[in-house]
């Protein structure tokens, strides 16, 4: 029952954390976005009246003008449900979260799903796969390369190779991905016309599915390169540090004393001991990859979660912003929960400690 109770406690705590986060977000954003919507209604009404005057020489009395103005304002407020009490709105918000009903985006914003739907769930479902395609692929490549480089650096600790890894890690990690992106676009897209400057497919996209897939990969090349450049050094350094600290353990000395080949010591014993930490890092990296990167996606015009977040902020589309935050919080917490559960499997001391 030890692991089961451990798991149940973790699940409950993370669910509470999720709802607590969203409740705080709602309460924190509610005054702001209601003010924005209510205040913008006046502007919409005035601009509508100005357009009406330009289109037609229709006589209007002051009462008619005020009536039109009030009608537009009240309609806008009612359409967002802001004429209901705060408690009612909060209740429906939490209820909808439970049922994964993320509501509808603002219809005066241009953010829609591939099918033209304003439903936030549909919108996120349209953008999320693109982020997974790019960032999760990039993260996997970074993990694999980082593991190899980090292990090699730890294996040949003290060598030039080993000294190079921290330097590269620090330098590359300090590069902003968007800056690398701009350089790559300037050089390889506009300079030598080797790659496209952005987007996910050519216009028009190839009709053949294989050619379409190749076209997508072609457009992925530059953002992938920028993700790898910035990410691989840091991950390699983390792996190197974890493995090095395990290599200094007594059991490793004992294994070496028994003349067990270094390869087996490293990959079978040291990696096993280091795996909880590495797995945690990998899981965190994979889960955060789903949230994308706002700056990278904006620079490369990659239609993923980052670009969606950017557009939602620019357009003040609060339901979409809250929906994205909910999904990313959910994914992050799910990743952390999974990490803890796996950690509990890999390291029995964890669940014993919990008991």
């Amino acid at each position: 029952m030890g692991y089961l109770s451990f798991a149940i406690k973790k699940v409950i705590s993370y669910i509470l954390a999720l709802f607590g986060t969203m409740a705080i977000l709602f309460v924190g954003t509610y005054p702001i976005y209601t003010t924005v919507i209510v205040n913008s209604a006046n502007f919409v009404a005035a601009e509508t009246l100005r357009t009406l005057q330009q289109r037609s020489h229709t006589p209007l009395t002051p009462e008619q003008i005020q009536q039109i103005h009030d009608q537009i304002v009240n309609q806008i407020i009612a359409s967002y449900g802001l004429n209901k009490p705060f408690a009612v709105q909060f209740f429906y918000f939490l209820k909808n979260l439970l049922t994964f009903n993320l509501g509808y985006g603002y219809t005066n914003a241009p953010i829609t799903s591939n099918t033209g739907s304003y439903a936030v769930a549909d919108i996120i479902a349209s953008y999320l796969p693109n982020t997974i395609l790019l960032f999760t692929t990039g993260t996997i490549i970074v993990i694999i390369l980082g593991l190899v480089i980090g292990l090699l650096a730890a294996r040949y600790a003290g060598s030039v190779w080993d000294r190079l890894v921290p330097v590269v890690a620090v330098v590359h990690s300090s590069f902003p991905t968007w800056w690398i992106g701009f350089l790559l676009i300037a050089a390889l897209a506009y300079g030598v016309h080797l790659f496209p400057p952005g987007g996910i497919v050519s216009v028009p996209p190839p009709k053949n599915p294989v050619l379409y897939a190749l076209d997508v990969l072609y457009h992925m090349a530059l953002p992938l390169i920028s993700i790898i450049i910035v990410g691989v050094g840091g991950f390699a350094y983390v792996v190197r540090s974890l493995v090095l600290s395990t290599l200094s353990e007594d059991f490793v000395i004992a294994l070496r004393a028994r003349a067990i080949p270094e390869r087996i010591v490293l990959f079978k014993h040291v990696m096993r001991a280091s795996s909880p930490s590495i797995v945690t890092q990998v899981l965190l990296a994979l889960t955060t990859s789903i949230t994308g990167s706002l700056t990278t996606e904006v620079v490369f015009q990659w239609p993923g979660m980052g670009l969606l977040t950017w557009e939602a902020i620019i357009q003040n589309d609060v339901p979409v912003m809250l929906g994205v935050l909910y999904v990313t919080t959910l994914v992050l917490l799910a990743g952390l929960l999974l990490g803890e559960l796996i950690y509990g499997v890999l390291d029995p001391r964890i669940r014993v400690g919990e008991d």
Binding site: T35, N39, F43, T51, Q54, T58, N114, G116, I200
Partner: protein
């Protein structure tokens, strides 16, 4: 030895050969005029296919694509900071862009001492804002400075006497003195160059837009001036949404702003009373102050927090604005006078202090032809779609966004991006002349104004049709009804030359059914398709229609209670009152009855809504004919309607009233089938009558893109389209050397040249027939004026009377316009009028004029020389032998 005859032939033959070659050379040599002549198209559109690529708001990416010629044209104005990155051989199309002004909060704010609650302080700001600096330094010279809201458009000329009488110009000292007197009288103290009120520094809150370069840069200048005046300045940074919320949406008494810089689009029109009424009179909800009858921003009563004198002036402004909006005058002169009075109140109250109009360029590659710049709509418009080309069968253009709203004719087409793209698929009924905004037919319809009177004395026949909002039915108007205007509209050209993109003929059924839909959505609340937002848009216009009558299968007569001193303008207004759908998209109402019916069914079943606010309320789609969800619903409904051979009740109702058979069941089935085939082929229901079909609309890709293919049913012949509608406006300027003095016995003579630059070109040529006007002011009073037309090569000579002006310094204001292009940018100079005994200096000769000369064909010269040499040689050979 050759015979004489043979020798002659030997001599002549080469000559004949050379002459033949010369003739062939002449035949293929291009004409020697400066302009390359192009063959007139025989059919529109010129380009078979257009790719429209969206850059999702990333102007940098769009401009880069343009510079690298990945696209031929980018449909958004190039920011001033980017103009230098555009190669000089690209084509620039300058368009009136934004009207800039500084907005002052005139209320006694609750959080401190607001110096701008005093009219004298606000008025003094006119002498500080430095319009010349704004245009020359901030806009890089691409603009027209202005004291009033009328900048460039035709109404500008009526404001010139008013502007000169107020003598507003940059004068920091005068402004400082005025502010000092006003604030010290109000109890403020000026200590060591700083202002204090009750011991605290007077802080001015300036809202600074951080997302626009022009306003952000100018704000820095303005803040420096305010600090120089002695105020402590607190910047309130924010983007558009914050400005909408803080400045326009909040009670000005409590909102933390006192100064904000505004920029307004859509500020060019031929008759533009709406600009002054909207910006000066609180009644239209756009002023941060109240009058006796209206509220600040339509929502806040600030009369207790503003000076009574301001309330009184704004009340007068409201009265004048309502008279203008209601055409409560009897002739154009009265209209102009009312407008001047309203603008004068605006200048005196100075809640808005105007800076000028920005003229920002759209840019196209050198190979691009056929872009028709329109001062109201910009270069990407319905007429440009007919003629634009880069010589390739597929034209690629870039846009900022494909769309920022829904595509439906009732409460869609509300954003400019949607309208720019959709304009390719519909053909407008009326066109605003490209260079002056005057309404004009464009080949689709014709009209005849039967009556236009300020008094409702036009009898409406009893069998004209009207709508009864109490029972939701159309009926005859009956006896004893009168209107102010009557217009006959003939749709024959449209019905003859155009069809809908699915092949359906355009018939009276389509026109009458959209009238029916308009009344149902906007006037009859019990209708299942009623939309409150549509009501606010269209109900007042529809209520002006006293009646309409179908005269025959192609013509309708309309009677309304609206009137305007210009018959063309009232014709357009009356047509717009009866056919209001389409909102901001000219021609956006033209959908076949089948699509209107299908959309109505979907809305009545609450599966989608016409307007965004209704969609938001109901939690359904904002109905859009390019949204795959909605298109599937439309398709499904069409199939059901076809199976039932449904004829809409609106058409049946109209048939009874018009005694005409508008639609038979078999025709209905056929029409449904055509619409169904279109939707299945192209995946959208954007079935318009324009030159292009939307064959692809992709928002799932990045970049988003759309494909437009030539509509095979668009057969409007080029000869049917008035040439002015496709004419690019020419920017005209005056080139002259102002005389420095004159005498009062000899008229003041001004000679010069009118130079014109065509849109897309940088070459200036002399313009004949341009109207040059000069006004003479002394101490702000108009003393004389005269106009003349420019002659050949654009030269003009203008004489101004100078009698009774001796020993005066006269200020001369000159401007130029043509019949097809009005972008008034006055030029001024001062001249001393001496008594006749004083010797005057001779006027200088005008600056050199530019004339167009044909380039010399050097090829022809060389060929002639060769021929002469050969002839001489041949004759010499013959003679020697």
């Amino acid at each position: 030895m050759l015979s004489r005859k043979s020798r002659f032939l030997v001599a002549v033959l080469p000559i004949l050969i050379v002459l033949s070659l010369l003739g062939a050379l002449l035949a293929v040599t291009a004409p020697t005029s400066a302009q390359t002549s192009t063959n007139s198209p025989t059919k529109y559109p010129v380009t078979p296919e257009i790719y429209v690529i969206s850059y999702s708001g990333n102007d940098q990416a769009g401009i880069q694509a343009l510079v690298h010629q990945d696209i031929a044209f980018y449909a958004y104005q190039v920011p001033l900071s980017q103009i230098s990155s555009i190669p000089s051989n690209f084509q620039f199309y300058y368009t009136p862009a934004l009207l800039y002004d500084v907005l002052f909060n005139p209320t006694n704010v609750s959080y401190g001492f607001n110096p701008f609650m005093f009219q004298q302080v606000r008025y003094a700001m006119n002498f500080i804002v430095n319009r010349t600096y704004f245009v020359d330094s901030i806009l890089g010279g691409h603009g027209i400075p202005s004291v009033t809201m009328y900048t460039g458009e035709p109404d500008t000329q009526y404001m010139l006497p008013l502007v000169e009488s107020m003598n507003i110009h940059y004068n920091f000292t005068y402004a400082n003195m005025t502010i000092y007197k006003t604030l010290t009288a109000a109890g403020a103290q000026y200590v060591n160059g700083k202002w204090y009120y009750k011991g605290k520094p007077i802080t001015v809150y300036v809202f600074v837009r951080t997302d626009t370069n022009v306003r952000q840069t100018y704000a820095k200048y303005l803040i420096a001036q305010l600090e120089k005046l002695g105020f402590q300045v607190q910047e309130v940074p924010g983007n558009l949404y914050k400005q909408i919320s803080l400045v326009y949406g909040s009670n000005p008494v409590n909102a933390t702003w006192e100064v904000a810089i505004e920029a307004w689009g859509g500020v060019y029109a031929y008759y533009d009373e709406g600009l002054a009424t909207s910006f000066v009179a609180p009644v239209f909800g756009n002023v941060p102050a109240s009058s006796n009858v209206s509220l600040a921003y339509g929502s806040f009563n600030t009369t207790n927090d503003q000076l009574p004198s301001l309330t009184k002036q704004l009340s007068i402004a409201d009265q004048i604005a309502l008279r203008l909006a209601n055409t409560n005058y009897t002739n154009f002169a009265q209209r102009t006078e009312l407008l001047q009075q309203l603008v004068e109140i605006g200048l005196n109250t100075s809640i808005r202090v105007y800076l000028g109009m920005g003229l920002l360029p759209y840019v196209a590659i050198p190979n691009m032809t056929g872009l028709v710049n329109n001062y109201i709509q910009g270069p990407l418009n319905s007429m440009s779609y007919l003629t634009m080309s880069d010589g390739q069968p597929v034209l690629k253009i870039g846009v900022r966004h494909l769309s920022q709203g829904a595509w439906n004719p009732v409460a869609g087409f509300v954003d400019s991006y949607t309208d720019e793209l959709a304009a390719a698929t519909v053909y407008p009924w009326v066109w605003s002349y490209n260079g002056n905004g005057y309404p004009s037919p464009d080949g689709a319809i014709t009209w005849k104004v039967v009556a236009d009177s300020p008094v409702a004395n036009v009898s409406v026949p009893p069998d004209a049709i009207t709508f009864n909002p109490s029972n939701g039915e159309f009926q005859y108007v009956g006896q004893g009804n009168f209107a102010k205007s009557a217009v006959i509209v003939n749709f024959a050209p449209m019905m003859q030359y155009l069809k809908f993109a699915d092949g359906q003929n355009i018939t009276m059924a389509d026109l009458l059914y959209q009238i029916y839909i308009a009344y149902m959505v906007a006037v009859y609340p019990n209708s299942s398709i009623f939309d409150p937002y549509a009501q606010s848009l269209y109900s007042t216009a529809l209520s002006q229609v006293v009646g309409f009558k179908v005269l025959n299968s192609t013509a309708i007569e309309i009677w309304t209670s609206a009137w305007y001193p210009d018959p063309n303008e009232i014709a357009v207004s009356d047509i717009g009152d009866l056919f209001p759908l389409g909102y901001a998209l000219p021609g956006g109402n033209m959908f076949p009855w089948t699509i209107y019916k299908a959309m109505a069914v979907i809305v009545s079943e609450k599966k989608a809504a016409w307007s965004s606010s209704q969609a938001q309320s109901l939690g359904v789609d904002w109905l859009s004919v390019v949204n795959p969800n909605d298109v599937n619903m439309i398709l499904s409904v069409l199939q059901q309607l076809q199976a039932n051979k449904t004829i809409p009740e609106g058409i049946i109702e109209m048939e009874k009233l018009t005694n005409m058979t508008l639609l038979t069941p078999d025709e209905a089935v056929q029409d449904y089938q055509m619409a169904i085939n279109f939707i299945k082929t192209y995946g959208n229901a954007m079935i318009g009558d324009g030159p292009y079909i939307l064959t692809k609309y992709s928002t799932s890709t990045s970049p988003q893109y759309a494909v437009l293919s030539a509509n095979p049913y668009f057969n409007l012949p080029p000869s049917a389209i008035p040439s002015q509608v496709l004419q690019n406006p020419m920017t005209v300027t005056l080139s002259f050397t102002p005389p420095v003095s004159a005498t009062n016995t000899t008229p003041l003579m001004i000679t010069g040249t009118v130079l014109g630059t065509s849109a897309g070109s940088s070459e200036a040529v002399g313009v004949q027939g341009a109207n040059v006007t000069a006004l003479v002011f002394v101490n702000g009073k108009l003393m004389a004026q005269n106009s003349t037309l420019s002659g050949p090569n654009g030269t003009f000579t203008l004489y101004l009377p100078t009698a009774n002006l001796q020993n005066q310094v006269a200020k001369v204001v000159m401007y130029v316009k043509t019949t097809s292009s009005v972008l008034i940018n006055p030029q001024t100079f001062s001249v001393y009028i001496a008594p006749s005994t004083v010797t005057t200096t001779s006027t200088t000769t005008p600056t050199s004029t530019t004339s167009v000369s044909a380039p010399f064909n050097s090829t022809l010269v060389i060929a002639l020389v060769v021929v002469v040499i050969i002839v001489i040689a041949a004759v010499a050979v013959a003679l020697r032998r």
